[in-house]
Structure formats: structure tokens, C-alpha cells
């Protein structure tokens, strides 16, 4: 059994999605438990794979018993095992927490919702585990298409936001596909390890340079790096809250993982960081992106739009850290993939709880929330402190590594941007806390809807949220072990 974990991880949600789609109209009650079972199976396999990697080192799985590069292989190593466990946990926790919200937001279509949810998860897990450049494109598309559909059925202008997302996402994915085509043209193979072994002979070729720039630009578009971020704020703020807390932790972080995978294990690190001016330009773009996104976040009037811009700044952290190209900064970037997924999940679950209870998340409606919804506010406060970077939450440690890496590289621009963004985050979150703590409670809907209960979220929502918030602190305390046991082994030894 344990030999088949990599395939089990992806096929369990896929099969569950198919079954759910068939029974969606007849037995909607069966769908959420089935989805939860499938995602638990995925989480189980992910954890099993992490244990095996820690015990025996990286391993691979040959689908159809064809050895790579003839067939498609799944490669599991320290890098993706770590990210997989985080992503599978995020998907499962979100599924459990948002059950009530799904029932009220998608009445009559819960079955289809869960089928798309599982397809999205299957695609994401597949992207994380695959060792084949073209297979990654197919999985990317399955993730994107289910994501478009989930976003498209949200708030008032959701369809418009989603179509915009379709256009940007398709350009991004097409550019990635074109980059893979260029690599295939010059190397004749699609297997990542095979490309990695052939490329050092071809450093001088203009085709490799073009492939690198095109594929990376496509990924930047998909991950919403600052000047290419157009789709993200609307898509995230128009999506329904269960969808938002699914795609916000998973989409951009997965794309950053793909960037790390491409930069370290498909293109040789020497090529990625030293051969071109590209790396230096990207670090400056990321620094500028962090500053601009933080400033834009200050001017938003609703919690979810503000958070969308904070997320864009976080993408800048990871991209900037990775492209600095030294060991400490890359450690910070990889650690931040995991931490940011957890923080984003936590903060959006809290926002989802507000929107579920209050039907609104503008700052004005948050008045007096500390008294009315104390536990939800505790969760939001923990996530906020982590995003600001207060120890012992996990956000502090990844930011520590990132700033340390930037100092090692003598890149003062990025250091300044990171500190500026932390300060802005402090302003943003303390403004929210202030409104929620000091301002007296005033229900703006009192006249229209007196029946609406304005109280703490139900325990089934609250328990997983509190677990996530505790997880933020737990991840922070475990940072040392994660770095020495997993991330150190994930970065090639050639990088100092």
C-alpha cells in the first residue's frame, strides 16, 4: 500500500469527485462526508510520503510501469512532501469548516460544488507531486478550470471577475506550455530530471533563454506577481467565502512551488541565478510589488479586498526571497510557502465566519465584534499577528529568514520593502482590531433584519478555526526542526 501513496494522493479525490458528480442531485447529503473521506485519504498519503522521504530519502513512482523519460513519473522529495502535507491539511480543514457556509451559499448545487472542490484539490496535489513538465500543464488546467467555475458563482460581479481570471490564467498557462515546448525542442524530453541533466550542455542557446523567460513570465501571471496581479483582487473578493478560503491558500502558493521547482530542479540553479540579468530584475520587481501592494491595501474599505492586496505583497516576499539565490533566502521562501498557506487559510476562515454571521465584511460592520464574536476575533488576531510577523507565530520566522537572506545578499531594497510591508500590515490589522474592540456595537441592519442572529459562529466552524490558529503558533515553534530536517535537504547543496 505505502508504495502507491503518490498515486493514491491524487486518485482518491478524483474518484470521489466522479462519484459525487453522479449522485449530486439524488443524494446531496452523502457528498460532504465522501469529500471529507477522500481528502483525509490524501492527507494520510501525504503524511506517509513525508515520513518515507525523511526515513529513506527521495523516491519516485512510475505510472504504467514505464520508466521515465518514456512514461510519466511522480517524484517525491523533501520539497514537495513538505508542501503537500501543508496543502492537503489546508484543503481538509477548509472543507470541514465551511460546510454550513456552502449549504447557504450554494443551495441546490452543493453536490457539484464538492465535485469541483475535489477536482481542484486533485489538480493541486498532482502539480505538487509530478515530475513531468507537460503533465504539470494538464494538472494546472484542471485546477484552473475548476477554480474559474467556483469563483464564477459568488457575489454580484463574480462572473466578470471570473472571466477576467480565465483570460489572465489562460495566457499564463499558455506561456508555460510554450516554454515547455521550447525546452522540448532543444532537449527532446519532457521529464524534469532528464531536462535538468541535458541543459548544462546548452547554456549558450538562445532557445533556453527564451524558454526560461517565457515559462517564468507565465508562472508570474498565474501567481499574481505585482504588475501582473490584475485578476486577483476581484476574483478573491467576489468569490463566495468557502471558495475564497480554498483558492487563496492553494493557488498562488502552488504556483510559487512550481517556480521553485523550475528554478532549482529543471533549470540548473547556476543558470537560474547567475547566467542572466533576469534574477536581479525580478528581485527589484518583487520589492516594488511589495511596496505598491501594501500601499494599495491601505486604501481598501472592506476586509476581504484589503486581504487580497496583502496576499499580493506576500507573493512578492516569496518571489523576492527565492530570486536572491542564497541559501538563507530560499529557505525563507520555501518556509513561507507553508506558513503563508496556513496564515491565509486562518485569516480567510475568520473572514468567512464574519460574512456567514454578519453577511458583510466592511470595516464599519465590524464594530464591537470582540464582544459579540470573541473566538473568531481571537483567530483573526492570531492570523493578523502572524502576518505582521510577531513571534512566536510562524510569520515571524519566515520573515526572519527572508530578511536575513536579503542582508546576506546586500540587497537593501528588499530589506526596506519587507520592513515597510510589516509596518503597513501592523497598521492594517491594528486598525481592524481597534474598530472591533473599542467602537461600540452598532448593527447597521437592525431595521431591515432584526431576526438575524448576530452571535458567535457555531462550534463546528469554530473548532477547526481555533485548531488552525493554534497551528500557526505550532508551526512557529517547530520552525527549527522543519528547516534542519526538511528544507535543508530540499535545497541543492550547490547553493550557499
Amino acid at each position: 500500500m505505502s508504495a502507491h501513496y503518490p498515486i493514491f494522493l491524487v486518485v482518491a479525490p478524483l474518484m470521489a469527485a466522479l462519484v459525487i458528480a453522479i449522485i449530486a442531485r439524488e443524494r446531496p447529503g452523502l457528498c460532504p462526508p465522501l469529500a471529507a473521506i477522500a481528502l483525509t485519504a490524501s492527507l494520510w498519503s501525504a503524511a506517509g510520503m513525508l515520513c518515507r522521504v525523511l526515513a529513506e530519502g527521495p523516491f519516485s513512482y512510475h505510472i504504467g510501469n514505464w520508466p521515465p523519460p518514456m512514461g510519466i513519473a511522480y517524484e517525491v522529495d523533501h520539497l514537495n512532501a513538505l508542501v503537500l502535507v501543508a496543502m492537503a491539511a489546508v484543503a481538509l480543514i477548509n472543507l470541514i469548516t465551511t460546510r454550513q457556509a456552502v449549504a447557504s451559499d450554494f443551495t441546490g448545487r452543493e453536490g457539484y460544488f464538492y465535485a469541483l472542490y475535489l477536482l481542484f484539490c486533485a489538480g493541486t496535489f498532482g502539480i505538487l507531486v509530478t515530475g513531468d513538465a507537460f503533465n504539470l500543464y494538464v494538472l494546472l488546467e484542471i485546477t484552473s478550470i475548476s477554480g474559474y467555475a467556483l469563483v464564477g458563482l459568488g457575489h454580484r460581479d463574480a462572473a466578470l471577475a471570473s472571466l477576467n481570471y480565465v483570460f489572465m490564467g489562460t495566457i499564463g498557462a499558455s506561456l508555460y506550455l510554450l516554454g515547455v515546448g521550447y525546452l522540448y525542442l532543444i532537449t527532446g524530453t519532457l521529464n524534469m530530471a532528464d531536462i535538468f541533466s541535458i541543459l548544462p550542455r546548452l547554456f549558450g542557446s538562445k532557445v533556453v533563454v527564451a524558454a526560461f523567460v517565457i515559462a517564468m513570465t507565465g508562472l508570474f501571471m498565474k501567481m499574481a506577481l505585482f504588475p501582473l496581479h490584475g485578476w486577483l483582487p476581484n476574483a478573491y473578493s467576489e468569490a463566495a467565502s468557502p471558495v475564497r478560503s480554498l483558492i487563496a491558500p492553494l493557488t498562488t502558493k502552488t504556483m510559487i512551488y512550481v517556480m521553485v521547482r523550475l528554478g532549482l530542479y529543471v533549470f540548473p540553479p547556476d543558470f537560474t541565478f547567475n547566467h542572466l540579468l533576469f534574477a536581479k530584475v525580478v528581485v527589484w520587481v518583487a520589492a516594488a510589488g511589495i511596496v505598491c501592494a501594501s500601499v494599495l491595501a491601505l486604501s481598501q474599505t472592506s476586509l476581504r479586498r484589503m486581504l487580497a492586496y496583502v496576499l499580493i505583497a506576500e507573493v512578492g516576499y516569496m518571489v523576492g526571497g527565492f530570486w536572491l539565490g542564497n541559501r538563507m533566502a530560499i529557505t525563507g521562501a520555501i518556509l513561507h510557502i507553508v506558513n503563508d498557506a496556513a496564515m491565509t487559510l486562518c485569516v480567510f476562515l475568520a473572514v468567512g465566519s464574519f460574512t456567514h454571521q454578519l453577511r458583510d465584511d466592511r470595516f464599519a460592520t465590524l464594530k464591537g465584534c470582540f464582544r459579540r464574536m470573541p473566538w473568531t476575533m481571537v483567530v483573526l488576531a492570531t492570523a493578523g499577528l502572524s502576518m505582521i510577523g510577531v513571534p512566536p507565530t510562524c510569520g515571524f520566522f519566515s520573515k526572519w529568514y527572508l530578511i536575513g537572506g536579503a542582508l546576506t545578499a546586500d540587497h537593501w531594497g528588499l530589506v526596506a520593502a519587507l520592513i515597510f510591508s510589516s509596518l503597513v500590515n501592523a497598521v492594517l490589522f491594528f486598525r481592524v482590531f481597534e474598530i472591533a474592540y473599542y467602537e461600540p456595537f452598532a448593527d447597521p441592519h437592525q431595521e431591515h433584519r432584526p431576526a438575524l442572529s448576530y452571535a458567535e459562529a457555531p462550534a463546528t466552524m469554530l473548532a477547526p478555526m481555533l485548531f488552525t490558529a493554534a497551528g500557526l503558533v505550532g508551526l512557529g515553534l517547530l520552525t527549527g526542526r522543519i528547516v534542519t530536517h526538511i528544507i535543508d535537504a530540499a535545497i541543492p547543496a550547490a547553493i550557499l
Binding site: G152, A159, L160, S162, L163, F167, T170, S174, L178, L185
Partner: protein, 131 residues
């Protein structure tokens, strides 16, 4: 490079030049066109341009189709005489992906039309601002 060299370059790779032109047309339509259906057409042109690129990689001068006869069983097949099948396989998948994206994009465009009563982007944005 001499003039003859440039002409040689153009003739030797004319398929690749055309794909670049198509790719730019598609990208330009997606960025600059205001009508949503036109943007979707541009998206499809972009995707087919990439397929054209992959199919161009696969060709070999003077080679035959990637379908063997039964008399080839047990023989040694010279790979220079058969067109490279791998890009064809990849592009079958890409065509499927493009029709899937097309379906979802059209569904979203119809939802947008039902809501704003127009397909022009600037008019839609004006209505969003009004409400």
C-alpha cells in the same frame, strides 16, 4: 549575416514565423479588444498558435505518418523515416484543454450578458460603477 543568410533564415523556418504572428494576434486581441466574445476568439487563436508550434517541431522532411503497418512488426524501423509522434500526443491534450476553457469562458460570458445586458467591457465597467 548577409542578405542571403537572412533570406535563408526566413525560408528555413517560415512555419515558426507564422506561429509568432498568430500568437501576437491572439495576445493582442485578448489585451486590446473590448468585446468579450472577441477576447474569447483571441484566446482560442493563441492556443491554436501554440499547437501549430508543437506540430511544426514534430515534422521531419521526407518522413511518413506515425502509423506503422503490421509488416513492420519485428523489423527495425529507421526513426528518421517516421514523423515524431510525441508532440501530436501532447497537442491532442492541448486541443481538449482549449475546448474545455472555451466552454467555461462562454458560460461566463452568458452569465455576464444576463446581468449587465451587454458584452462590451467598457459598458460593463460603467454599469459596475453605477451600482
Amino acid at each position: 549575416m548577409t542578405t542571403a543568410g537572412y533570406i535563408n533564415l526566413i525560408i528555413a523556418k517560415y512555419n515558426y514565423w507564422i506561429y509568432i504572428v498568430l500568437m501576437c494576434i491572439g495576445l493582442w486581441a485578448m489585451i486590446a479588444k473590448r468585446n468579450l466574445i472577441k477576447k474569447i476568439i483571441g484566446m482560442n487563436i493563441l492556443q491554436t498558435a501554440i499547437i501549430l508550434f508543437y506540430v511544426s517541431i514534430a515534422t521531419k522532411k521526407g518522413a511518413t505518418l506515425p502509423i506503422l503497418g503490421h509488416h513492420d512488426a519485428g523489423h527495425f524501423v529507421d526513426y528518421a523515416t517516421v514523423i515524431n509522434p510525441l508532440p501530436h500526443v501532447l497537442m491532442l491534450t492541448a486541443i481538449v484543454v482549449s475546448v474545455a476553457t472555451l466552454g467555461v469562458a462562454l458560460a461566463l460570458a452568458m452569465k455576464i450578458y444576463n446581468r449587465y445586458d451587454t458584452l462590451e467591457e467598457d459598458e460593463i465597467h460603467a454599469r459596475v460603477r453605477e451600482s
